[in-house]
């Protein structure tokens, strides 16, 4: 694995499977009376959030704490200095404090990339969502959820998502979740179809390793998982679609549509959900909807990522980029 996790495209198939497998072990820790491991004792993880996201922050925080890392939460939102100064100066501050990893959420696409390549800091950088670019740990937890549900908790170990058909529906244009998922799911062998009104599909999407459809009903029956993206209400004023009602009618997932999905197929949502917009309450509350599971899986995935990046003197090595880590141990 690379030293930073900036994009889902940074991960080879072996890297991704290793993360999912590791997360599976981490998930078992959650079932124990003592949900804590000593592994990252003495490591410092900084949650650097330039954008409000309580859900993502507490997920990373829980993950780091379960691994016994010291966690520093740094909310840079509302800082009086200009954006640019604050990223660099904040980074230098964190470096001085000895951060082993910086988990960064930023409103600008590319800010984590910049942090990782600027020379401002020495630790690992984990992208917790940047602008409309990527959100790799979300894609990993989504893939983890799919593998558990579609392949099986134990049956999935060591396996990817080869041949699974995943449909991602909604505001692809502005979605970092969609971008990361397209990369990761492709790497894991899944077949991805994006569904959105043409206004919410980026120019240039033809180079992405996926299909694009404007017709939700046409793909439902051929989907093993349907991921509904949150539609920001402010998009409505920018003429991306005429009304919320029309959007819900054409691209929302309701009970009728869910019934047309294969029996085993699941409904996913990265949250928070706009009930009545992209998803009806009936679907959101059905056992086929994995939204709550995804949150729980998020902690396991983030534990796995932090462990694999910080658990040694360098990130884990996978077959794709070196020798196996599985050596015989001293006894």
């Amino acid at each position: 694995m690379k030293r930073h996790l900036i994009s889902a495209a940074d991960l080879t198939r072996d890297d991704a499977v290793l993360i999912l497998d590791t997360a599976e072990e981490m998930a078992r820790v959650a079932d124990r009376p003592i949900k804590k491991l000593p592994t990252l004792r003495g490591r410092t993880v900084v949650n650097l959030f330039f954008e409000d996201s309580t859900r993502t922050r507490i997920s990373f925080e829980a993950a780091a704490k379960r691994l016994s890392a010291d966690v520093i939460n740094f909310s840079a939102k509302g800082s009086s200095v200009s954006k640019g100064e604050s990223l660099k100066d904040t980074a230098l501050t964190l470096e001085a404090m000895g951060a082993d990893a910086v988990v960064i959420r930023h409103h600008d696409s590319g800010a984590p990339h910049r942090l990782a390549t600027s020379g401002w800091i020495g630790g690992s950088v984990v992208n917790a969502g940047d602008g409309t670019h990527e959100h790799p740990t979300q894609a990993l937890l989504d893939a983890f959820t799919m593998r558990r549900r579609l392949v099986g908790v134990d049956a999935g170990l060591g396996h990817d998502l080869a041949g699974r058909r995943i449909t991602i529906v909604g505001d692809i244009l502005h979605s970092r979740v969609a971008r990361s998922n397209v990369h990761l799911l492709h790497t894991l062998g899944a077949e991805v179809t994006l569904v959105a009104p043409p206004t919410l599909v980026p120019i240039g999407v033809e180079r992405w390793p996926c299909e694009v459809s404007y017709d939700l009903d046409a793909v439902l029956a051929k989907s093993d998982a349907v991921m509904m993206l949150r539609v920001q209400r402010e998009r409505m004023n920018a003429a991306f679609f005429p009304t919320e009602r029309e959007y819900a009618r054409r691209y929302g997932l309701n009970g009728d549509r869910m019934a047309r999905m294969p029996e085993h197929a699941i409904v996913m949502h990265p949250g928070p959900m706009n009930r009545g917009m992209e998803i009806t309450a009936e679907v959101a509350d059905s056992p086929r909807c994995t939204a709550v599971e995804q949150v729980a899986n998020g902690v396991s995935i983030r534990m796995a990522v932090l462990y694999l990046l910080l658990g040694g003197n360098e990130p884990a090595v996978t077959a794709g980029n070196g020798t196996s880590t599985r050596t015989e141990e001293s006894k």
């Binding site: 640019g84 910049r114 120019i203």
Partner: protein, 431 residues
């Protein structure tokens, strides 16, 4: 009474000849010219270097008044001289905006005082660059600065009526409106060229059509009112097509291209390094090739640097927070040699045309863009075209270092620049 003899220079790339400068004027061009060293004449052995008319930039941001932390008229003209320029047009988006006779005269005077390069101020088209109310174009023209080029550069004159009126109004004094073609609604939140790379990087797209639609409108407007219009920093293949079409109609349309749009593409943005953030944005390889071809065939009239200095902190940050723009004066000729001459698209006479004759003509700039022949003002640039070297911004004369070429090997180096017979650059260094 000063005399300079440049011996063995390839004028516009031709056979080596000698050029004699007396005071401010070229007094002789020929072979085996001699001067009496007793009279203190200076001899420069050109050794087959290329002699060009002093370069003229139609599009320079000198930042003074207002942003002297990034550039001043003095440092900007020094950079211009090092780059082989003898005249630059100083854009109007200063603080305060150059929208009155007072501000343009101030810039003009600062240029005179600097002595490194002539500074021709550009006047704003509208008050405060706000696109609403025409600035006093006539007063700026009538001022000591004698403004002939008007531009809201940095912003587009997007109101069709204001644009029409400006085009018409400047006819009275043979002025020209230089349009920064950028449809504002189509480029809200734009961060880079809209296309395959922006889709992957999740950066707000700046679509080619936002430039092309304005150019299409403006060439039609110029034709309708019988005015001339100049298009700043053309960046797309589509824009080239529109300009080519307008010219085929005989309409009075001119256009410029920046050196960086002749070389760099949006693939570079993958690094998220804000040094590549510029407006209009870096486009695709196909656009770059179309721009080179258009410059070669004359569809694009000239190269203009869009030299846009920014202080370090405005680029040493995340992409979204960074300022748009690149410095360009000191690398322009090298980039043109690399992209146009070394590739066989343009000869040195063509370079002289695109970087001196035509821009001077578009700006109606007297004393610049003249042939290298006896009786002409001695505005000259001597280029060592055999030179190859890495760009090192630490050596820039500009106050800013925001070059996209740092560490890149480029050909050619200006060894001497003469402004009306006075050397402003000698052996590659400011005189």
């Amino acid at each position: 009474m000063g005399q300079i003899l440049i011996r063995g220079a390839k004028i516009l790339g031709g056979e080596p000849q000698d050029v004699l400068i007396t005071d401010e004027t070229i007094t002789a061009v020929g072979t085996d010219l001699t001067v009496s060293s007793a009279e203190g004449a200076q001899v420069i052995e050109a050794d087959g270097k290329i002699l060009l008319p002093g370069l003229v930039d139609l599009h320079t941001h000198l930042r003074e008044p207002g942003r002297e932390d990034s550039e001043t008229v003095l440092t900007g003209t020094k950079a211009a001289a090092v780059g082989g320029f003898t005249a630059v047009h100083a854009m109007a988006n200063t603080f305060p905006v150059a929208d009155t006779a007072g501000v343009v005269e101030q810039v003009w005077r600062l240029g005179k005082e600097s002595g490194y390069c002539d500074v021709q101020p550009v006047g704003a088209v509208t008050v405060g660059l706000e696109g609403k109310k025409l600035a006093e174009l006539g007063a700026m023209h009538d001022s000591a600065a004698g403004v002939r080029v008007f531009s809201d550069d940095g912003k587009c004159v997007d109101d069709a009526v204001i644009m029409r009126r400006a085009l018409e109004y400047v006819k009275a004094f043979d002025g020209v409106v230089a349009q920064h073609a950028q449809e504002p609604r189509l480029t809200e939140g734009a961060q880079m060229n809209e296309g395959i790379v922006s889709a992957e990087l999740g950066l707000g797209g700046w679509p080619a059509v936002a430039e092309e639609s304005i150019i299409a409108r403006d060439v039609l407007l110029a034709a309708h009112v019988g005015s001339r219009v100049h298009i700043c920093h053309l960046s797309t293949a589509g824009s080239v097509e529109i300009v080519r079409w307008a010219k085929s109609k005989g309409w009075n349309v001119t256009a410029e291209v920046t050196p960086h749009h002749l070389l760099l593409t949006d693939e570079l943005v993958r690094s998220y390094n804000p040094v590549y953030k510029v407006n209009p944005p870096l486009r695709t390889e196909a656009d770059v090739m179309a721009l080179r071809e258009a410059l070669a065939d004359g569809t694009i009239d000239c190269v203009a640097t869009d030299h846009a200095p920014h202080p370090h902190e405005d680029k040493d940050c995340e992409w979204g927070a960074a300022a748009m723009g690149m410095v360009g004066l000191e690398t322009a000729l090298s980039v043109v040699q690399h992209t146009m001459v070394d590739s066989g698209l343009l000869d040195w006479a063509g370079v002289a045309d695109r970087m001196s004759f035509r821009p001077a003509h578009i700006g109606r700039l007297e004393g610049h863009g003249r042939p290298v022949s006896a009786g002409e003002p001695a505005n000259l640039t001597l280029l060592d075209s055999a030179y190859r070297g890495e760009v090192d911004p630490a050596h820039f004369a500009s106050r800013s270092r925001n070059t996209p070429y740092e560490g890149r090997e480029l050909p050619g180096r200006v060894t001497h620049t003469f402004l009306r017979g006075r050397a402003t650059v000698v052996d590659g260094k400011l005189a």
